[in-house]
Every structure is written in C-alpha cells, then in structure tokens.
C-alpha cells in the first residue's frame, strides 16, 4: 500500500516498480551506520538500511537522517547541495541564516529542512521521511544493536569509538 502524499497521491511509477514509500510499523530497530569521526560537521553519508537509502547529516555535531528520495519525483534527495535559510520581507533585502541546515534536492532544487524533513514551501504537505538518530558509545553498540552497513568485525576493532545509530522502524 502506498500512502497519500500531497496532491500526487496516486502516482503510478512507470519503470522501476516503486520509489514512493511509507513505513507504518511501530517497532524500532537500531542500526549502526557510521562512526562519528566519519561524518564531520557539514558532511553527510549516504547509507543503505533494510533496502532503503538514507542520508545521515552532521549539523554542528548533531546528527540527522532523512530518506534519500524526494517526495516530488523520487530524486536522490540527499545528494543535493546544502544551503541556508534565505528569507526576505522586501525585494533586495536578504536574511540568510541556518547555513548548512537546508537541503536542496539534487534535481529540482526543492528545499527541505534537514532537522524536520519539512519542505520550505509547503511544510504541511511535502515532507521527506526523517529518522531518529543517536550517538552511542562503542560498548553499547557491541552489546547487541542491530548491524547496519558496519560489519561485526568493524565493531570489534573500533569498540572504543562513538557510533552514529539510526532508529529504524521495522
């Protein structure tokens, strides 16, 4: 079942079978997707989790994860350019804040707030799926979180590091 999104709810993909998605299950599973060192502030990492592509972003030391599919036409959203929030009340006067916290889609340039997943221009309707992210220390990770792209071997050699962990609805 596909869930309604915005106005183009019943889009029917022609070629690959599906890109739009919804996940409605309640259980969460934790996945280790990176070490903290691996994603410095202002950087991102694209990861695969349970067949889904996600972008994990470090904004000033805080981590955020959003689904790597634009709700508009299915572009790999998270490969887009990072920008700030540009606002204006009068033509010619610009207010530029929150640099690096806004993601512009890789194709059409739609702007999404990485922290909330909301689109700038229609936050009520267009939003990208966002996932909770935590930072856990190595000991917790080793004690039995689900494995993400990181292999068990990697855990064992880096058990003293901090890990970026995504709470993934199962």
């Amino acid at each position: 079942m596909r869930k309604k999104r915005g106005n183009f709810a019943d889009l029917e993909p022609l070629i690959p079978p599906t890109t739009l998605h919804t996940i409605q299950l309640n259980l969460m599973a934790k996945h280790v997707v990176a070490t903290v060192d691996e994603i410095p502030p202002g950087e991102r990492k694209i990861v695969e989790l349970e067949g889904r592509s996600l972008g994990v972003f470090n904004i000033d030391g805080e981590f955020y994860a959003v689904r790597n599919i634009c709700p508009h036409q299915g572009a790999p959203l998270c490969e887009g350019r990072l920008t700030g929030l540009l606002e204006s009340d009068v033509p010619g006067e610009y207010r530029y804040t929150r640099k690096g916290e806004i993601l512009r889609c890789v194709w059409h340039g739609w702007e999404f707030d990485i922290k909330t997943g909301q689109s700038w221009w229609n936050p009520a309707q267009k939003r990208v799926r966002k996932y909770p992210v935590e930072v856990e220390d190595g000991a917790t990770v080793a004690s039995g979180l689900q494995k993400g792209p990181y292999t068990a071997e990697t855990y064992s050699v880096s058990v003293d590091q901090q890990y970026v962990v995504i709470d993934m609805p199962e």
Binding site: F8, L14, G74, W107, G109
Partner: protein
C-alpha cells in the same frame, strides 16, 4: 502493491550533449574558423543574461566523475540516463552553435557540431539520434546544412530555438522549411535563445524564474506566426516539435486564435481553415517540464484537449535541473495505451525510429 508491471519502452525526446571544451570542435573546423574561434569566438545579442538557479542549469548529480561538464561525458550519460532507465532511444539537442551575429561563423560552428555529434555521440552510441544544428537566422545557410545532413540516418530532426530574431513564420526562414520538407524531417523548436529584443513583449524582466518560467511566451509567438503566415499551406507536410515549452498553454492559444481569426480572416486569406486545425495537424509537444496542476482532473482534461495520446512525447531534458523522471513525470495515472504512446510510440513514429 502491484508485483508485476508491464515495462513500457521509453524514448527520450530531449537530451543535451555538450562539448568537453571549445577545442573539442577544432578537428571539425577549418583553419580560418579555428582561428576565429580562438580570437573572437561567438558574439550574440548581449544583454539577456539571467543567471541560472544552478551551474550549467544542471542537475546537481549530473556532473560526471571525469570532471567534464554535465552532458559532455558520453559514458556517464549512458550510465546515468540511457542504461539507468533503459531507454530505447534518445534525441540529442545540443544547445549551442545555431545562433550568433556573424552568420558565416555560426554556419561553420553548426557544421562542426553536426560532424562532432556523428563522430562522438551517435556512432559510438546508436541509441542516440541527433538534431541538425543550423544557423537559423539565415535561411539559405541553414538550408545548406540541412541538405548536407538530410539523408544521414544519424539525424532525426532540424533544431531551431524559441527566441529568434523574428517570428519563425516570416519569409526569411522559409528556406529551412523547404529543405526540411524535402527530407521529411520534423523541425524541433527548443526552449531558449536570445532574440533581437528583450525576452518578453513587455521588456526585460529581472529574474531567472521569469526567463525560465516565461518561455511559453516565445513558444506561443512561434506557433501564432507559423500558423498565421500560412507556412502550412506552403509546406503541407511540415511537422514541428515544441520542445521544453510546457504544453498547458497550447489549448487556450488554439481557442484565442480561432476567436480572433473568425473576425480577421480577410487579413490572412492564405489560411484555408481554423488556426486550431493547423495546430492540431502540424505540432507535436515534448512533455518536460510537465505542468503540475493542483488537481489531477485538471491534468486529465489538459491531456484530452491536447490530444496527448497522439501528440505528446516524453522528454527528460537531461542533464538539466528541471529533469523529469520517466516513472514520475506525470501527476496522474495514464491509461496503459496512452502511456505507451506518450513514452515512446509517438516519438518512434514521428522520428521514424
């Protein structure tokens, strides 16, 4: 969830290939024009520059790892576009070389671009077909180039642009239509160009959104001119493809032209029927950028008014930022037979692929 889905063949009617560098054309230029290119280069109607929303107006992910510009790397285009979506064919519309003030130079560049397309694009990648770039502001020089390439199966259309010095129905362009008719080549009118005046009939606007979003104004101009000048009475088999102009403006223009023609037809006695009938008969439209109405029934009505089943042809506009994805371009679900026609049958028939 649909587990099985019929695969619809796709033909992309608007792909942009570009040069790795200006020197890429050197092998195809004579010594004189190589020198001219290095010394002076192209000169056009200056003063209509609207900086894009993004570098090269390109998709952010269309920059090839090779470091070349978007659209300049065939291998990357194959991987990211042709193979990724499994296209049957793609039509190349290089957006360069057709315009400029020094027409002899423009003709030399157009010729070189066409040779370069065969050598470096359509020969190594037979899924790609090219458009003949012509120095369109000079009918005779343009016709010469059409005669040179008219029977070459690498080419499937003649390429013109929406913003021209004069409306395309005027006599100075008729040699182009005569030559295209001889080889039964459709003529594509593509988004863009710089005419002899400001980019709107109300003067020069300020922003790229007005430039890019206002482009239908130039397309309307060309359709009006081609129809009212009687071009289709003189060249009854001529076919035009309106590329990247959108299409929601097309039905209202039919009605408006018919309305005014009923009162003013004595001014244009060459026209034998309603302007809308010429429009329905002689024009095809590429789909991108697809208008996205707030309700799907609006879009359905538009498709019906356009006779989209016969006249709309899918296009991505790769590698540009306003790219439409084959699986998600249309804000409605198309009936299977309509989908097949729009995604490939219409283009296959028109371009004889």
């Amino acid at each position: 969830m649909k587990s099985t889905r019929e695969k619809v063949p796709v033909i992309d009617t608007d792909i942009h290939n570009t040069l790795a560098s200006p020197e890429s054309l050197h092998p195809y230029l004579s010594e004189r024009w190589r020198k001219h290119q290095t010394m002076i280069g192209g000169r056009g109607h200056a003063g209509s520059n609207y900086p894009r929303g993004m570098p090269h107006a390109a998709r952010h992910d269309a920059w090839p790892p090779s470091g070349l510009s978007p659209g300049a790397d065939l291998a990357f285009m194959q991987e990211q576009l042709l193979d990724a979506w499994d296209f049957e064919y793609g039509v190349l519309n290089p957006l360069m070389g057709g315009s400029g003030l020094n027409l002899e130079y423009v003709a030399a560049i157009a010729r070189a671009i066409n040779d370069w397309q065969v050598e470096e694009w359509t020969t190594p990648e037979p899924r790609l077909k090219a458009s003949i770039v012509v120095p369109y502001e000079d009918g005779e020089l343009a016709a010469e180039e059409i005669h040179r390439r008219g029977e070459d199966p690498n080419f499937v259309q003649v390429l013109l642009i929406a913003r021209t010095d004069e409306p395309l129905g005027r006599r100075k362009y008729w040699k182009i239509y005569e030559a295209a008719t001889q080889y039964d080549l459709p003529i594509g009118i593509h988004f863009g160009g710089t005419g002899a005046g400001p980019i709107t009939g109300a003067g020069a606007p300020s922003y790229y959104i007005e430039d890019h979003g206002g482009m239908p104004q130039a397309f309307q101009t060309q359709v009006i001119s081609l129809v009212c000048e009687g071009v289709f009475e003189r060249f009854p088999t001529l076919k035009f493809v309106l590329i990247e102009g959108g299409f929601a403006w097309f039905p209202p223009l039919m009605w408006r032209l018919d309305q005014s023609w009923k009162k003013l037809k004595e001014e244009v006695p060459d026209l034998k029927k309603l302007p809308s009938e010429y429009m329905k008969e002689h024009f095809w439209l590429s789909s991108q950028p697809v208008e996205e109405p707030p309700k799907r029934e609006y879009f359905d009505l538009l498709l019906e008014q356009l006779n989209a089943r016969e006249r709309l042809m899918f296009a991505t506009d790769y590698p540009h930022w306003d790219f439409d994805a084959p699986d998600r371009a249309f804000p409605t679900s198309l009936a299977p037979d309509v989908k097949r026609r729009i995604m490939s049958d219409n283009a296959r028939e028109l371009y004889k692929l």
